[in-house]
Amino acid sequence: HASLPVVVNTWPFKSAAAAAWGVLRSGGSVLDAVEKGCAQCEIEQCDGSVGFGGSPDESGETTLDAMIMNGNTMQVGAVADLRRIKNAIGVARAVMEHTDHTLLVGEAASVFAENMGFVAEDLTTNRSLNIFSQWLKGNCQPNYRKNVTPDPSKSCGPYRPEAIQAQNKRERPVNIHSHD
């Protein structure tokens, strides 16, 4: 026995689930439901892993990735490494609806977004600045570099490549607070 319609989302993001469910309950499309649900998470910065002001990169910048897929037509819109635009899932939907492409990335994706009417703004917040400054103070740990000098497990960059060496298995710094 199963009940339709149904919306399922990863992690206990209740507001996002409610937003998507509200769309379906009122007769909206599944695409609108997914877009609205993900957008709600972007607004609320769900657990810091969605939206602006989270997961700063090595240079302190927050960038966003998003994707939306229509299971009837197999149409897809996606953006990656999107900068300065908060509504990443909205831009992904725009890629699907206003281009024949599938995935736009980086600075060019941001330009596309601006041309489609999305507002460009700084994605940095006090929280992301603090995460970044703490990382710098801690000698840039944790760190995803390998086979570079100086030793990335102890030092910040800039890094240069060094001969590839057999390395002990390293624990990846991915956890409940830092994930895709």
Binding site: V34, A66, D180
Partner: protein, 140 residues
């Protein structure tokens, strides 16, 4: 990261993801979320799935695509999710990740890989039975 799948009464399916990725990533790094078949996948004739976790590892196995294809072949959503996780675990026993799956009849399931910071995976389900989002969990 949020991954979401939706199915309406007419059998229309969609999937989506949104994330700001891993903290302290190297600039330019992109994870699994915007990659079709990795972060999510939907095929209204078979099912939909959405994955979350360590995208650098998970994207190598297209777990969402795999789960949908397993459902197409008759696997129930929970079994499809578990198989997609197992495929990754063979190479990366300690990887951090989870996946949610739903088939064309509205049945759903989830699976995760047990890791130090992930022993139970929580996810949300909304359907006409509950008429409100309900938190579910899967033991990893």
């Amino acid at each position: 990261t949020i991954g979401m799948i939706a199915l309406d009464k007419k059998g229309n399916m969609a999937a989506g993801t949104s994330t700001n990725g891993l903290t302290h990533k190297i600039p330019g790094r992109v994870g699994d979320s915007p990659i079709i078949g990795a972060g999510a996948y939907a095929d209204s004739s078979a099912g939909a799935a959405a994955a979350t976790g360590d995208g650098d590892l998970m994207m190598r196995f297209l777990p969402s695509y795999l789960a949908v294809e397993l459902m197409r072949a008759g696997a129930d959503p929970s079994a499809a999710c578990k198989s997609a996780i197992s495929r990754i675990k063979r190479f990366y026993p300690d990887f951090f990740g989870a996946i949610v799956c739903a088939n064309t009849t509205g049945h759903y399931g989830a699976a995760c890989n047990k890791a130090p910071s992930l022993t139970q995976f929580h996810y949300m389900v909304s359907n006409s039975e509950s008429d409100t989002p309900v938190m579910k969990s899967a033991d990893c």
